[in-house]
Amino acid sequence: MLEFKNISKSYEGQEALKDISFDVKKGELFGLIGPDGAGKSTLFRILTTVLLADNGTALFNGHDVVDDYKYVRKNVGYMPGKFSLYQDLSVKENLNFFATIFGTSIKENYDLIKDIYQQLEPFENRRAGALSGGMKQKLALSCALIHKPMVLVLDEPTFGVDAVSRKEFWDMLKSLKAKGVTIIVSTPYMDEASLCDRVALIQKGKILQIDTPKGITDSFEKILYTIKTNKIYESLKVLNDIPEVSNAFSFGQIIHVYAENELNIEKVNNILRENGIEDPKIELGEATIEDCFMDLMVSQNLEEDGVAE
């Protein structure tokens, strides 16, 4: 459905995308996972024809996004990262407007947005600017869907939205997928990656890995330990000094330690205690997407440093 071939793009000498190639299959829920500034929005803007790539081509259902931009604009549903509806128009007026400019009506495609829009109906006459974050996202999704697009492009749809609304949102995406809509979604939240069919990990304009969420976690070759402690910062310092430890990161209240080979847990425990960290609890852990991402990110950074030297 979507094909990216060697896409590159730079802004004022800064490379935002470096030689990106991948494809998204019909009916897939594809996730683009990466931190802010990784180049996700730039890629989406190239796909939705509002930006031109410096190099490379992108195909939308076989149509070139530059030469055949009119085709793309007719058949894509795009939800930009910034809330981009008219704040001074009511919920209903917004939806009506977008339905009309795409040459359709709310009635015609109501079944597609029904589940989402039903939650908004009590606020139909409220101005979009006065809605809560979760409601805004639902409205934006309804507006992007109203013309029955082949492909739905969602740029960080759950950014800044509360946990409950986030979960609801992903449930909606699943039911849309079941209706046959191809969806490409970007997110900075690693925990959302496991909800996609396939994900691409992207960092500094480069794709680190593309696979199913399971494929990515399975490919994690190191051994992962979790450490519970109340002195996160001090522990990290100590852990990163142990030669057998490749990396240690804090994940909220837990530390994840990556190692090439099995660690002697007793030994690590002792080192921590010697440094005044009381009662650390070390256990073997399962790698998550975030662990894979962190690990890949570190190796990418090392590679770049190598080039720089």
């Binding site: 939705t48 031109l52 604009r73 930009p80 001074d88 009309t100 400019i101 040459g103």
Partner: protein, 367 residues
């Protein structure tokens, strides 16, 4: 077509739901017209005059009464010495003084009477207006005294102000205010409204829709054309009711020419919006790029023929200059298209040029 109407409907929602836009649209014409009509005026009425009468008698009293009874002057001080007169000027009790010398009554019979007028020259414009007004009143009184038989040896010039016989300044300002309002509403509001879509990111989803760029531009512009025409009519009606200023020429011609000027201003607004990415920038550009030249260089306040040559040349690229000539011609002189076709052509040319430029500059993408 349905898309187009949906777009225009949306634009009207924006306009009528934004208090600032409404204020500029409807508050400003009223404020400017009243301000220029009443406050900023070059007419003189009830000016303070000091009287230093050194020859009290029948004639001098008659003369002073004549001054008093005119709308122009109000006697604010009667002085009895030169020092006192000096003090009146210093404390700003009067801007002009009439000094009647001791032998005035006597001299009146011998046709040798003299009168001195002293004006405060620190405001030269006002001084000129006041002294000529006083002069006129004195002359009139003298003619009455001599039984309308003018002294044979003297020649008096009778000045008549064509098209504005009573030299009402509001007559000058109404065309100027219409020009400013049309320019401001059309150019500033359009450029801001397009820049707002850019700033809020909504332009991105408009781009990613089947809407053609032409429809977006025309959809942005049409509501302001309608509102501007409405505004022009509104100002004309207000001028007619409040200040009693009629349109001497053809109203249809005036509205058609106004429509042309509105289109010129709108295309300028679209052009501005193509180079500005925020509402702030659009506002600044239209304010400094348009408002100041319109007020200063269009001939609205300062006559173009009095400007130094470089400024006179620059004034030729300001559309408002030509519209001002047209609207003054139609409103005050009542001329027809035969007298203003040159200016009309200039505006047509400017509009075409700017529309072509804006269409070329208006992008269908973000960069």
């Amino acid at each position: 077509m349905k898309q187009f109407f949906a777009f225009i409907k949306k634009e009207f929602y924006h306009i009528f739901r934004d208090q600032r836009t409404l204020l500029v649209l409807f508050g400003m014409p009223i404020a400017q017209l009243l301000l220029f009509g009443y406050a900023i005026t070059t007419e003189v009425s009830n000016a303070n005059i000091a009287v230093f009468n050194q020859s009290p008698g029948q004639f001098s009293n008659q003369l002073i009464n004549e001054l008093k009874s005119s709308d122009f002057f109000r006697v604010s001080a009667n002085v009895h010495s030169k020092e006192e007169l000096e003090k009146v000027f210093r404390t700003d009790q009067a801007k002009i003084a009439i000094v009647i010398p001791p032998k005035f009554e006597e001299g009146f019979y011998n046709r040798e009477a003299q009168i001195q007028l002293i004006a405060d020259g620190s405001d030269p414009n006002l001084a000129t207006i006041l002294s000529s007004s006083a002069n006129a009143i004195i002359m009139k009184w003298m003619m009455k005294k001599s039984g309308n038989a003018l002294p044979v040896e003297s020649i008096t010039t009778g000045v008549r102000w064509h098209y504005n016989p009573s030299l009402k300044s509001v007559l000058m300002f109404v065309p100027g205010v219409i020009t400013i309002i049309l320019m401001l509403v059309s150019a500033m509001l359009t450029s801001i409204s397009i820049a707002r879509e850019k700033e809020l990111g909504t332009i991105e989803i408009l781009f990613v829709s089947p809407l053609k760029p032409g429809i977006i531009i025309i959809g942005k512009v049409v509501p302001f054309i309608i509102l501007s025409i409405f505004n022009a009519v509104f100002i004309l009606v207000m001028a007619w009711i409040i200040f009693d200023i009629p349109v001497n020429g053809s109203i249809v011609l005036l509205l058609l020419e106004s429509l042309l000027f509105i289109i010129t201003a709108l295309s300028l607004g679209v052009l501005i919006s193509t180079v500005s990415n925020s509402q702030q920038m659009a506002l600044m550009l239209s304010l400094f790029g348009l408002m100041l030249p319109v007020i200063l260089l269009s001939g609205f306040i300062f006559p173009i023929s009095n400007m130094p040559l470089p400024l006179q040349v620059i004034s030729n690229i300001i559309p408002a200059k030509f519209y001002l000539i047209i609207i003054k011609g139609i409103m005050l002189k009542g001329v027809g298209i035969m007298y203003i076709w040159k200016e009309t052509l200039v505006l047509v040319f400017m509009s075409v040029l700017m529309i072509v430029l804006s269409i070329k500059k208006f992008k269908i993408r973000l960069q």
